[in-house]
Amino acid sequence: MTLSAHNSSSHLNGGAARTDRNLARLLALLAGGCALLLVLILGFLLLEAWPLLGSGGWRAFIRDSGWYPLEGQFGIAPMVWASLAVTLGAIVLALPLGLASAVFVRFYAPPKLAAGYRLLLNLLAGIPSVVFGLWGLTQLVPLIASWQPPGASLLAAILVLALMILPTVALTSAAALAALPADLLAGAAALGISRKGQILRVAIPAARAGIVSGALLAAVRALGETMAVLMVAGNVVQNPSSLFAPVRALTANIALEMAYATDLHRAGLFASGLLLTLLVLLLAWLAARVVQRAPRGSVYE
């Protein structure tokens, strides 16, 4: 629109405006299509889960202590807790490690080493989850089992997931640190603040919105991860009471049983999917709020 104001030819002006309008319409249509797709998916999940939800089955999610769909028991709550526990554990491990490697890459590492390290992180991010799962099942689980049987446990799932989301945390944190204005650090240095102070008191607080939203993005990935968790978590439906106890995540529940499920059992699995989607939406909303409430560069204020 700014462009057309400078344009003297009314014909050209109208043409440009029309093109602009058409483009806006096309983009709105495409964006609307994406939003519609999400609504359709949610609707589909709701429809498929309805045989169970509609008959008051959602009360069974909390009431029933166990998940035995063939015997009419649909206790989903332990799996929600397990999914959250696995995700939380993975974030608690991956966030300090990822942030530390981001700080190292941004402030301390010589350029060649930093480039090599970044390459390594990208490689780690590219390893398929089933490979992590296989490694966990054949190496990590026996190791834990020799110490605290059965080995397949909340801890194994947390360790494997932490490794999987570490690159996401490290790369987004590094990007957030790199996006800080150069004069911010220069100003801190000019004030005579030590290197440690510059990083801990200036750089990290200023980049915290990017770091936190990166961590939430990683949490979404951890929550949705299926194959690796299925292979190492033990898949017993129970509240996560100990690090060494086996648990079943919502995703693993769907993957383990979907191929074999019929009728209400199937509806129960779709209900798991619905809950999982709602959890992911909640996390995404949180991430959006964090970015809104702490705009980048707020340290200036």
Binding site: Y68, E71, V141, A145, A152, E257, A261
Partner: protein, 300 residues
């Protein structure tokens, strides 16, 4: 059926196509276009009928992941002997095999157990037998377990191998996920309900079970004897336990002596197609015996 031909008109500049007469100066060109369209339509119809004919020579099998590898090998050999036939084999569990056969999504369902009373609408053809064997880690010193001991272990009443004559080591009970036919057979044989079992690990397929037991000296699980025997021979750290005095081996399943065995069935609903009938007859014939033993199953 309509006749798609172009009839030349009587006049010099009159052309006919599909009963319409073209008589203006572009008659030749327009009638030519019409003829081309008709020819294209004819070609499409021909192609469609061809693919329809091909579809009648196509067979879809879905169901049990235990039966699928065997059915796939049989299908390959059948396709070799009958060019023009295409057989699709898809897995998804015995429940899906029954569901797809009933809904008509599959011509033949694969089911790794005998049919239940509620499944009287289906006809089953046994193509092989498979035994379910109890497996423990190779280092486990327990030589055998009675049925009562196995039940007590799976119900969480016996929690240490010491109580059944083994080393002082906690027992890791490995169970299968809900809906699997191996689980159904196991529960049925021992008279258990799934909610009575206190498991420490729940697995999906046989391979996951084998890897879990081989990686945990205190584990006990149950998988298809064929796959366990194969892994045992390859040196995987597991051991099959005998049941009721019969050693868990493919040979004993063949003799019908092993108590915990199941049928591998092909099931159809009502009147199946001639091709499905032919394939089932082929799968039960002598000419696939080598395929059955190559997969560590037992011919019925």
């Amino acid at each position: 059926m309509m006749v798609f031909t172009c009839v030349p008109g009587p006049g010099r500049l009159q052309k006919k196509c599909l009963g319409k007469t073209y008589s203006d100066k572009n008659a030749t060109a327009r009638a030519g276009l019409c003829r081309a369209a008709v020819a294209l339509l004819g070609l499409l119809l021909l192609l469609a009928s061809q693919s329809l004919w091909a579809a009648s020579q196509r067979l879809v099998l879905t169901g049990s992941s235990t039966v699928a590898p065997l059915a796939l090998e049989m299908a390959k050999r059948y396709e070799q002997q009958h060019p023009g036939v295409r057989i699709d084999v898809q897995t998804g569990g015995s429940s899906r095999g029954i569901l797809d056969a009933r809904r008509g999504l599959a011509d033949i369902g694969m089911v790794s157990r005998a049919l239940q009373a509620t499944e009287g609408d289906l006809t089953a053809y046994t193509i092989a037998m498979d035994g379910i064997g109890i497996i423990v880690h190779r280092s486990n010193s327990v030589a055998a377990l009675t049925d009562q001991q196995i039940v007590a272990i799976y119900r969480g009443q016996i929690r240490n191998w010491r109580e059944v004559g083994g080393a002082d080591r906690p027992i890791t009970v490995v169970n299968k996920a809900e809906g699997r036919s191996t689980l159904e057979l196991f529960l049925q044989y021992f008279g258990l309900k799934n909610s009575q079992i206190r498991a420490q690990v729940i697995i999906g397929d046989n391979q996951q079970g084998i890897k879990t037991v081989a990686g945990n000296p205190g584990a006990i699980g149950y998988v298809s004897i064929g796959s366990a025997e194969y892994e045992e021979q390859r040196g995987t750290a597991l051991r099959l336990l005998p049941m009721a005095g019969h050693s868990a081996s493919v040979a004993n399943v063949a003799r019908g002596e092993f108590p915990l065995a199941r049928q591998l069935n092909l099931v159809v609903v009502g009147q199946s197609s001639p091709l499905a009938q032919q394939f089932i007859a082929f799968a039960q014939s002598e000419s696939v015996r080598d395929l059955i033993s190559a997969q560590f199953f037992v011919a019925p």
